[in-house]
């Protein structure tokens, strides 16, 4: 499907990431869902490493 055809249809939008994209759509009455998502361990490398160690424990 081409992009032009896509925008002729009724859009169903799932937003992941910056919440401002969702709030802008909501303000224009476009149905959308915002997924509450954070990077693994909030992007904290030290915590991600600790969790990784547990996944590879004996």
């Amino acid at each position: 499907m081409s992009v032009n055809e896509l925008f002729k249809e009724d859009l169903k939008i799932i937003n992941i990431g910056l919440e401002s994209f969702y709030t802008e759509l909501k303000a224009q009455d476009i149905p959308s869902i915002h997924v509450q998502w954070k990077p693994f361990a909030g992007g904290n490398r030290k915590m991600a490493s600790l969790l990784g160690k547990l996944k590879s424990s004996k």
Binding site: A41, G42, S57, K58
Partner: protein, 419 residues
């Protein structure tokens, strides 16, 4: 990592099979392990007099006056600072206390037993709302009310429980969560069920009709009467999990008004603490966040078990007390399934299509998802002697869980269990 899952499975079996039961009452110095005349128990992790916040200091002052160890607030402050009073967390004595959580030697306490594992837990009687010790008030009115609870309420309740026999609190809580309570900040149904259960036994006690009426009126006027039973019920259910080697499940969460503390089953009695937060909520007329003390109390032992804030979906009316909408309450509960390992086999939530309450907080999931346990709570004024100024929703500091995770990985490393 199979051994981690095995350890957590064992902890969940312990929690799910607990049978918290009210078996009697006694005076703290006679029944609470390690209690003595110059000991004062408090909510939350360990803390010194110097670091105590206003409401905890106020409750200590009131407790010393109540015990007759001081006759004025000034004398009490001097004694508290002298080093002659031993301060210790309720949690170190199988006890829990709401808000300041102060327990002194002469205070009557409920005695609960977890019938599955034989461990006991203790909690004072709830004082009611308004100007009360647990929010740091210590006026003559507060002390007079505590004395009434000791001299009139306690003997009648003690005798009534003896006449009745053991009361299954797990069953009572299970019923209450299907009647709109989450048994932390809403205990209306549970208090009603308790009154219904104990009523005929109160009438059979060797006490005057006038005093019996006062006891009924007090319980009826105090929707939080059952809080001081739901808290030790949660404590008795969770305590046997402490010390299960290699488990990553949280078995204690509490706050002393300065710090928030958690304990993890696989890390035994070790506390992991961080600064207690200011609560976002609804403030009584004339008060704002500027008046609030940081988070305080052992009552989030209910959330640790998976009731309280974790089960807010089942108590939509509570949002009028702590803020938000009924949908927010459902969202809070839904989110808690992300950081817990099982659903309760006993506490079933009708608005969640009778799913069991989210049970068994795993520190790995908290750190991985960055979703913190949700707690609904009362808000104490930051100054000693004022009392409650609102209620709301609050979260623990993330560093408690991160520090615990780090300690846990170090432990496994020391034991040679990591690749």
């Amino acid at each position: 990592m199979d051994f981690i899952e095995e350890a957590n499975k064992k902890v969940l079996e312990i929690i799910q099979s607990a049978q918290p039961t009210l078996i009697g009452m006694g005076v703290a110095k006679d029944v609470v392990p390690g209690m003595h005349k110059h000991m004062m128990l408090h909510a939350g992790p360990p803390i010194t007099w110097e670091k105590m916040s206003g409401p905890l200091r106020g409750a200590v002052i009131g407790g010393l006056i109540y015990e007759g160890l001081a006759s004025t607030p000034e004398e009490a402050e001097k004694l508290a600072a002298s080093g002659d009073i031993e301060f210790d967390p309720c949690h170190h004595h199988s006890a829990v206390g709401p808000m300041a959580g102060v327990v002194t030697a002469s205070m009557p306490v409920f005695i609960l037993e977890n019938k599955t594992y034989g461990n006991k837990s203790y909690c004072t009687q709830n004082e009611g709302l308004g100007t009360v010790l647990r929010f740091g008030a210590f006026s003559d009115q507060v002390i007079t009310h505590l004395k009434w609870m000791e001299k009139t309420l306690y003997p009648i309740m003690k005798e009534a429980i003896e006449i009745h026999g053991p009361i299954d609190l797990k069953n009572m809580i299970a019923q209450a969560v299907q009647m709109g309570d989450e048994v932390h900040n809403r205990n209306k149904a549970a208090t009603s069920l308790f009154i219904r259960e104990i009523a005929s036994s109160i009438l059979k006690t060797n006490s005057s009709k006038e005093d019996q009426v006062k006891v009924f009126d007090f319980m009826n006027s105090n929707d939080h009467f059952f809080l001081n039973l739901s808290m030790p019920a949660a404590k008795a259910s969770l305590d046997p999990a402490g010390g299960v080697k290699h488990s990553t499940v949280v078995y204690t969460m509490c706050r002393n008004g300065t710090e928030f503390g958690i304990r993890v089953a696989g890390l035994g009695d070790r506390w992991f603490t961080g600064p207690a937060a200011i609560i976002d909520g609804l403030y009584f007329p004339g008060y704002s966040m500027a008046d609030a003390n940081p988070d305080i109390g052992d009552s989030c032992i209910t959330e640790t078990l998976g009731i309280g804030g974790f089960s807010m979906a089942t108590a939509p009316a509570i949002v009028q007390f702590v803020g938000g909408t009924p949908q927010d309450a459902v969202n809070y509960t839904t989110r808690m399934y992300e950081i817990t390992l099982e659903e309760s086999n006993s506490y079933k939530l009708p608005p969640m299509n009778f799913r069991g309450s989210p049970t068994g907080i795993d520190i790995r999931r908290v750190v991985e998802t960055q979703i913190l346990p949700v707690i609904n709570t009362g808000i104490a004024h930051k100054d000693a002697g004022v009392g409650q100024v609102g209620a709301g929703v609050v979260y623990p500091p993330m560093n408690c869980f991160e520090d615990a995770l780090e300690a846990y990985v170090e432990l496994l490393d020391d034991e040679g269990l990591l690749d």
